[in-house]
């Protein structure tokens, strides 16, 4: 009887402990501090520039290793094609933030290290780069379009699951100052093995470092040490039919919705871009549903009209809603043949009578991906 009770007690203890073990979930977030931040849409192309805002929300000094990924076309003046692919060129740099420190930089200018930058004072609102400089941040090349990714690291340069960063991007149109702003997408860290293989939605076997989804993948080399939360299974976008009118601005207005998408899996060591085929399922206000798909390699920026399905455009919509426009809900997921997650942001361009205004938006997520995504950082970048 006593032995049986011991077994029951042990069994309950083991089961309960298993329930408490950290399990990667879909906690990609746009509103909490994280260990990896991704700004999917950066522009410095002479028409629009981008201001990066980044803060340390912890009470400790923190470091990050950051990557610009230039996705401009080989020849920006020509359309994309097999002979004119995106560059997918990566530039990396390091930053340091003291406790609770905010910082900013303009993507086209970067930020130098100059402790003699004068602070602002009464009557002087221009004090560029005043404050503790986070490090030497290079300017991007002309005609840059792409993304920025920052990974929290420790003093040695090894990735660290500290969840200390939050960030935003402000896109500024240079000719008239129109602005739009979105939150950087954060990927929460759980633990980290400290190497250059960052597993999102999975981990690495403690014994041999093999990427794993759970303890069962490790056999005798377990347990599976979870690293970062997973990319989401589904993205949900509320949007208008392409070029539908804004009912406030009137029937002569148009609204175009752009999506900027980057794969979750990226290999900075081999510099081979990841391709993901995305399935779109779209419902309109009448509950009619349509499907379309497209493939994203490295970085993609397109509006719903570019997907080639007329029903996603106002002109192709056979019946408008009673107010003369059409709203839609699109659910976007990766096709099973390309088992990689994606991250994305949206921007609406509202146009009327020759004037326009951009409005950026963070998108909604649902579910967690069944397969892990992997970000691979070259070994010499994390342990100089």
């Amino acid at each position: 009887m006593g032995r049986q009770r011991r077994r029951v007690g042990l069994l309950v203890l083991v089961v309960a402990s298993l329930e408490l073990c950290s399990v990667a979930s879909a906690d990609v977030t746009t509103e909490r501090s994280a260990s990896i931040l991704v700004w999917p849409k950066l522009l410095a192309n002479g028409t629009r520039d981008t201001i990066i805002l980044l803060s340390n929300t912890s009470n400790s000094l923190v470091r990050a290793h950051c990557f610009y990924v230039n996705a401009a076309l080989t020849d920006p003046t020509q359309p994309q094609g097999p002979l004119n692919p995106p560059l997918w060129q990566e530039i990396d740099f390091d930053i340091v933030l003291t406790k609770q420190q905010p910082t900013y930089w303009v993507v086209s200018e970067g930020r130098t290290v100059n402790p003699t930058d004068e602070p602002c004072g009464p009557g002087d609102p221009e004090c560029p780069n005043a404050g503790f400089d986070p490090g030497l941040i290079p300017p991007v090349v002309p005609d840059f379009v792409g993304e920025l990714k920052c990974v929290q690291v420790d003093d040695s340069g090894a990735p660290l699951a500290g969840n200390a960063f939050k960030g935003e991007a402000i896109l500024v149109r240079e000719d008239d100052g129109d602005i739009s702003e979105y939150n950087a997408i954060g990927i929460l860290g759980i633990e980290n093995t400290g190497d250059g293989v960052l597993v999102l939605g999975g981990g690495q076997c403690a014994g041999n470092g093999v990427v794993c989804g759970g303890d069962e993948d490790c056999g005798g080399d377990g347990p599976c040490v979870p690293e970062y939360n997973a990319c989401p299974e589904t993205w949900i976008v509320n949007h208008m039919a392409e070029d539908a009118p804004n009912v406030v601005l009137g029937p002569d207005s148009t609204v175009s919705t752009e999506l900027t998408i980057v794969p979750c899996t990226q290999n900075y060591e081999t510099q081979i871009p990841t391709s993901v085929t995305l399935q779109f399922q779209t419902w309109n206000e009448f509950e009619s549903v349509f499907s379309v798909s497209t493939t994203v390699t490295c970085w993609a920026n397109f509006n719903f009209g570019d997907l080639g399905s007329p029903v996603l455009t106002i002109d192709g919509t056979q019946v408008r809603d009673p107010l003369g426009t059409m709203y839609m809900q699109s659910r976007i997921r990766s096709a099973s043949g390309t088992p990689f997650g994606v991250l994305m942001v949206g921007e609406e361009l509202h146009t009327v009578e020759g004037t326009s205004s951009w409005a950026a938006m963070n998108l909604h997520i649902e579910g967690e991906r069944p397969n892990p995504d992997i970000i691979t950082i070259p070994a010499e970048q994390i342990a100089p």
């Binding site: 009770r5 011991r6 007690g9 042990l10 309950v12 203890l13 309960a16 402990s17 329930e19 746009t30 509103e31 501090s33 520039d49 201001i51 805002l53 929300t57 406790k99 609770q100 420190q101 905010p102 910082t103 900013y104 303009v106 602002c120 009464p122 609102p125 221009e126 004090c127 560029p128 005043a130 404050g131 503790f132 935003e168 240079e174 008239d176 100052g177 129109d178 602005i179 702003e181 939150n183 949900i236 509320n238 009912v247 406030v248 206000e285 009448f286 509950e287 809603d321 009673p322 709203y327 809900q329 609406e348 009327v352 004037t355 326009s356 205004s357 409005a359 938006m361 997520i365 649902e366």
Partner: protein
């Protein structure tokens, strides 16, 4: 005897582990996941000038019913009753005092499976404006938006918030995290002011068990396991007011919008609390201030702590650097909010605030 003690401790330890691992309300207020309660902290309508487009989508494959509340927070002059603001549009001495308002108007929205709908707060949505009105149009399985009647906001100069709760057929709040929403504030070009459109996500409060006891008191956080709690701290990254936009030199200003998590919509008692602000500049230098808020709070950040904005701790002239991080904490109640940044001649961008930590005490929304 030793065996019994060992067994006993094992069972106690196991029970403790199970208890500690039991799900509890977290600070999972979210602006990027579907939820059971949505809050749009800022609704703005000025007849002929500004309007707000509300988008809400049903992410589930079932019909959902929403019980929604407009909360009119427009202040009025006590004598003339025109709309006013104590700082930006004060009452003249002959007009009396600028008194805050808090009036709730509720309505119902029915969403069919996966359906997105929208309306402008200036016009509302009803009758033959509904996409599936149940008369001329129905969904594939016969469902419709019948039962939906969204009124226009009640004043030609209106500021306030909108809140929607997922309910069942009897009006009881249920634990279905199925709705997502956005607000688009549209300011058409007028005279020298340019077209400005800014957009933010509605803040979602996810349900655990919903209003399981049916008392119409929705408990956010705490041990009741009804809804997740509001965050302890909201965090905003921003440029200090009057900073020069580093791209084009335009003057930047920011407006902070806060609403309390706790509200008594049954007895029309607005929520209120003291708000503590910790402000860090790029030198890691810290300032702090506090202010009381009630019902609805919207202010240019350099007007939070002073009537002389250039001397504010939120002013670039005082802070000394262009960018800052502000941590916002409601002392007695949780808060929800957004930040709107303007640059130059009225170009505006909105962004949802970040959140951190759990509150010790729960908040409550009491619905009629």
């Amino acid at each position: 005897m030793r065996t019994r003690k060992w067994v006993g401790w094992t069972m106690v330890l196991a029970a403790a582990v199970v208890a500690l691992g039991a799900p509890a309300a977290q600070a999972d207020v979210t602006s990027d996941k579907a939820a059971a309660i949505l809050v749009w902290p800022k609704i703005r309508f000025v007849e002929g000038s500004v309007d707000t487009i509300i988008q809400v989508s049903n992410t589930s494959t079932d019909t959902q019913i929403l019980h929604c509340f407009y909360i009119n927070a427009t202040s009025h002059c006590s004598v003339t009753e025109r709309a006013c603001d104590t700082i930006t549009n004060p009452c003249a001495p002959s007009e009396g005092l600028c008194l805050p308002g808090w009036i709730e108007t509720d309505f119902q929205v029915v969403l069919t499976p996966r359906q997105p709908i929208f309306w402008t707060v200036g016009d509302g949505l009803a009758g033959n404006q509904l996409p599936l009105d149940g008369v001329a149009f129905r969904g594939p399985r016969g469902e419709s938006n019948a039962g939906t009647r969204i009124p226009p906001v009640s004043e030609p100069d209106y500021v306030g918030e909108l809140k929607c709760v997922v309910v069942d057929g009897e009006g009881r709040a249920v634990a279905r995290n199925v709705i997502k929403g956005e607000a688009t504030i549209v300011e058409p070009a007028v005279s020298v002011e340019p077209l400005s459109v800014d957009k933010y996500n509605a803040v979602g409060i996810q349900a655990i068990e919903g209003d399981a006891n049916g008392d119409n008191v929705l408990v956010l956080g705490g041990e009741a396991n009804e809804y997740n709690g509001c965050a302890n701290i909201l965090i905003a990254d921003h440029f200090f007011d009057f900073a020069a936009n580093p791209v084009n030199g335009d003057t930047i200003e920011s407006r902070l919008v806060l609403v309390p998590c706790s509200q008594d919509l049954l007895n029309q008692i607005p929520g209120g609390t003291t708000v503590q602000y910790l402000v860090f500049n790029e030198f890691e230098q810290r300032f702090s201030t506090s202010t009381p808020i009630q019902c609805y709070f919207e202010r240019q950040i350099s007007s939070i702590d002073t009537r002389n904005p250039e001397r504010s701790i939120f002013s670039v002239y005082v802070s000394g650097t262009l960018s800052g991080q502000t941590r916002i904490r409601g002392v007695g109640q949780g808060l929800l909010g957004i930040l709107r940044t303007s640059s130059g001649d009225g170009r505006v961008a909105a962004v949802n605030l970040h959140m951190q930590g759990d509150r010790e005490l729960p908040d409550q929304i009491i619905i009629p």
